[in-house]
Amino acid sequence: MLPVSMTVNGKAVTATVDPRTLLVQYLRDNLRLTGTHVGCDTSQCGACVVHVDGAARKSCTMFAWQAEGAKVTTIEGVANGEKLHPMQEAFREHHGLQCGYCTPGMIMSAIDMVNRKGNDLDDNTIRHELEGNLCRCTGYHNIVKAISAGARAMKG
């Protein structure tokens, strides 16, 4: 067993975990932050994307102990209190989700995309940047629209 401590959604947390505990398991099972999902076991689907020290990471592909001392943000932590993050708002406004399972990872990847690529994203860039996120419901059409609008909304 291994002690881990990190900051998750602004709160300091500590626990003792089995060394093979993945970050996503730690978030879901220990912290009960079940918004981060597991959609595959080969690091392809992106349902588990969270931010670690401000950058998108697949939380199924790192151990909890690898986030030692890091600042982790999950889907539960992106809204400002009751006020939704502009990217969350954009997904609702543009019907960028259906079953909702891939949505947290999509939103976390989208915010990271804007952080890296800026607020004016063309559709082609968005589609290629979404390489690591799978959705089986939407055909991506409205996800692309949502990210484009969300990116612009994040500017102001």
């Binding site: 981060t36 080969t42 539960e76 079953c99 589609r127 799978l134 419901c137 939407t138």
Partner: protein, 787 residues
């Protein structure tokens, strides 16, 4: 139309929880004292099971039980069943082999579960599973449906691995028409096997309450009541009233979560044995082996034309692969959901179809988005396109000549189409797709070394599943009506209980829109309750694009009853004759006066019971209804795909997609568009990249996202989506259903476009860039040889 009523593109109510990470999926549920299940699965496709040594595993730390098929049989847990009886041509019933939840004497596919470990933690369960020794005697395996009849017999009940040899239509008349034809177009097609891959893997959590001797199952199900019925009546797990099935938020289904699977049965059984809650969550590589696959047909088809390009006959022979066992509704998919749609949008006087369903050593095959109808559309639309090329006719023109133009239209294959305007959707799609400008675009592409092709798919489907008597006469084990209950609260808010289940469809919004429209209240005043057998009395669930046409019709019936009763109460309260009460925009008015009561006031009056005779009119305002449709519904439309192929590399790209669909009444056009988008993506995925590969020994080689190509955002252009409208005459709202259209229409449109660009019909799905490159090389070689 009110702001939140029928036809409004209302933003979805359910989104708040999904975008904030507060959805509540099965794996998110945890029960005090829960344990974890891990399944040991066969690595062999076909083998006798001699013995399983679980002693070492049972002695591992944290292990509560290690259970096998022998234990299951010892506890008299029944087999899983297929609930739709199909009879062969010779009148014999289909050959349904026993399907135990854990294999006891033999295994029939790689992934067939043979044992389960129940442990305090998942890691302990996995560690113990390593210690289980299984003695297999490996037998020869078959995966190709075309070879199944001559392969080693898999089940005692099914000689030649044949489940049924079924047919539909008039064989003699069809042969006669073929003999008299001016031209016959012949085609051989493979409809590739697909893995559904809902993003949420299946999961089950079972809990036993010894105090009440009852079981609760949280399950990733599209139809929790059907799950309860089967697990109770056939598996014999517990009486129906002692089993509660809850399907909370479900992350996509596409058919794969309709079926009753071994894992939930085993979790229930194990929970009672160990006296603790038992949870199983599939991982993705397990899902590839444990979730029913889709499609997998091999077909030869012939279409006859007269001298005017009119279709005179269609003859189809299909071999359908149902896998190692018969899944819950598997038998109906290649028969009544397939052959009945072979008339397409066309007036075809003679149709005959034979379907042989076979067992193979592969994962069981059952309904996947569209279920039978994509396969039928693919056959018909490929034939029509190839026929047009062979006859030297424009494919749109050939379609126009053969379209059904008057309704109702009885096809030779059971279905009676009730309404449609196929010319309207074709014309609108051709305009939107700028078919006129295609020649110019093709020339432009050629200048850049690209081949450009255009393909149509004018599809039809039968949805709104389904009239109970009709499906009963065709072998269905259940009726396919839907139920609804409308509960009006004293303060005027409303709860609607529905037997439908949402797993992405947005019922919490669309169903609320119907209530908003009818009762004149805001959708915020309405809650939709579903997915819990303790809350909703009964329901058949969501699949086959049925929830709008059937589920909402049940709500309409219940709302009619609510309105009728509320009028009676309002009449008493306002001291008017019941016949003088009008209800509009949420207000009950005495005709010709200014006396009125708001809906909420009548609701309160109903519960207070002070102002009407409760001996005549019961207090309260709550009504239920069961709605059984009188016909299927027939959504139809036209999809046009344009693709470009790089001649050097074979790289193939969908550059434009146009969809014009007739779904009848649209409740929420935004949601409808989303459904169309998703369907197209699955259809394009099937046509271009998705492929389930077995080796000859039955090993699944495309068993993870590393090898099974899931469509990604860059595989698609933005879609152009529009609609035409003819109301469905058989249900009160005129709804036809929209959930499967894209997946049904798309594969034929893609393949028609690719073959148009290539100038050869010799390419099968999935037409990957590699397959296209090979086709180009073959053509080049043939050309060189010819020169």
């Amino acid at each position: 139309m009110s702001a939140t009523g029928i036809g409004a593109a209302v933003r979805r109510k359910e989104d708040q929880r999904f975008i904030t990470g507060k959805g509540h999926y099965t794996d998110d549920v945890s029960r005090p004292g829960q344990t974890f299940a891990y399944f040991v699965r066969s690595p062999h496709a076909h083998a006798k099971l001699h013995s399983i040594d679980v002693k070492a595993a049972a002695a591992m730390p944290g292990i509560l039980a290690v259970l096998t098929g022998q234990d299951l049989a010892g506890d008299k847990i029944g087999n899983l069943i297929c609930g739709w009886m199909i009879h062969s041509k010779d009148g014999s019933p289909m050959k349904m082999a026993p399907h135990p939840a854990l294999a006891a004497t033999k295994v029939c596919y790689v992934g067939d579960p043979v044992a389960v470990v129940i442990a305090e933690t998942l890691a302990q369960a996995k560690d113990a599973a390593e210690k289980i020794a299984v003695d297999y005697e490996v037998l020869s395996a078959v995966t190709d449906p075309a070879k199944a009849k001559s392969a080693a017999q898999i089940h005692d009940v099914a000689p030649k691995n044949t489940i049924y040899e079924w047919h539909l239509g008039d064989s003699k008349a069809t042969d006669a028409a073929l003999a008299a034809a001016k031209h016959i177009t012949r085609i051989d097609l493979t409809n590739n096997r697909l893995v559904p891959n809902a993003m949420e893997p299946r999961a089950a959590l079972a809990e036993y309450d010894s105090g009440t001797d009852s079981l609760t199952l949280w399950n990733t199900s599209q139809n929790p009541h059907v799950a309860r019925l089967v697990i109770s009546a056939f598996v014999g797990m517990a009486p129906e009233h002692k089993l509660r099935v809850i399907a909370p938020d479900v992350g996509g289904g596409f058919g794969s979560k309709i079926f009753i699977y071994p894992e939930e049965v085993v979790c229930l059984w194990a929970a009672r044995r160990v006296g603790r809650p038992v949870k199983w969550t599939s991982d993705r590589s397990e899902a590839f082996l444990a979730d029913a696959h889709g499609r997998d047909h091999v077909t030869h088809a012939e279409m006859a034309f007269d001298g005017d390009g009119k279709i005179t006959a269609l003859k189809v022979k299909t071999i359908a692969n149902l896998g190692g066992y018969m899944s819950t509704f598997s038998s109906s998919v290649p028969t009544y959901l397939y052959a009945t749609l072979l008339s397409g949008q066309y007036a075809i006087p003679n149709i005959y179809c034979e379907v042989d369903a076979v067992y193979t050593n592969t994962v069981p095959v059952d309904a996947y988005r569209g279920a039978g109808r994509p396969e039928a559309t693919f056959v018909v639309e490929r034939l029509v396109e190839v026929g047009a090329r062979e006859l030297g006719l424009d494919p749109a023109e050939l379609r126009k000549r053969n379209f059904i133009k008057s309704f109702p239209h009885q096809t030779p294959v059971i279905m009676a189409y009730d309404a449609g305007d196929y010319l309207a959707s074709l014309k609108k799609a051709m305009e939107l797709a700028d078919v006129k400008g295609f020649g110019r675009r093709k020339r432009d592409a050629a200048r850049h070394g690209k081949l450009r092709g255009l393909g149509y798919s004018t599809y039809i489907e039968a949805c709104g599943i389904a009239p109970s008597q009709a499906v009963g006469s065709l072998g269905a084990g259940v009726g396919l009506w839907e139920s609804a209950e409308v509960r009006v609260n004293p303060t005027g808010s409303v709860e609607v209980l529905t037997g439908c289940h949402q797993h992405g469809q947005g019922h919490e919004t669309t169903f609320a829109q119907l209530v908003s429209e009818r009762l004149g209240i805001s959708i915020d005043q309405v809650s939709i309750v579903h997915g819990d057998t303790d809350k909703v009395q009964f329901g058949m669930g969501t699949y086959g694009s049925r929830s709008g046409a059937v589920g909402m019709s049940a709500i309409v019936k219940a709302l009619d009853k609510v309105e009728a009763k509320a009028k009676k109460i309002a009449a008493h309260v306002m001291e008017a004759a019941e016949g003088d009460i009008e209800f509009r925009d949420g207000k009950f008015t005495v005709a010709g006066t200014d006396k009125s009561m708001a809906f909420g006031e009548v609701a309160l009056a109903a519960y207070v019971g002070h102002k009407f005779p409760t001996q005549e009119i019961e207090p309260g305002l709550k009504e239920g209804a069961f709605y059984d449709p009188t016909n299927f519904t027939f959504p139809a439309g036209c999809h046009i795909c344009e693709i470009e192929i790089d001649q050097e590399t074979g790289e193939t790209e969908v550059v434009s997609w146009t969809a014009v669909d007739d779904f009848g009444t649209l409740i929420n056009p935004m949601i409808v568009e989303g459904q169309v988008h998703g369907g197209i993506a699955q259809g394009v995925g099937q046509a271009m990249i998705e492929q389930t590969v077995y080796d000859k020994d039955g090993q699944l080689l495309s068993g993870s996202y590393m090898d099974y190509a899931m469509p990604r955002a860059h595989n698609f252009p933005a879609f152009k989506v529009d609609t035409t409208e003819t109301k469905c005459p058989s249900n009160p709202l005129g709804i036809k259903g929209c959930g499967e259209a894209g997946a049904i229409a798309a594969p034929a449109a893609v393949m028609n476009a690719i073959t148009d660009a290539l100038g050869t019909e010799k390419i099968e799905m999935p037409a990957t860039s590699m397959a296209v490159w090979r086709a180009l090389q073959t053509m080049n070689r043939n050309q060189v040889a010819a020169e």
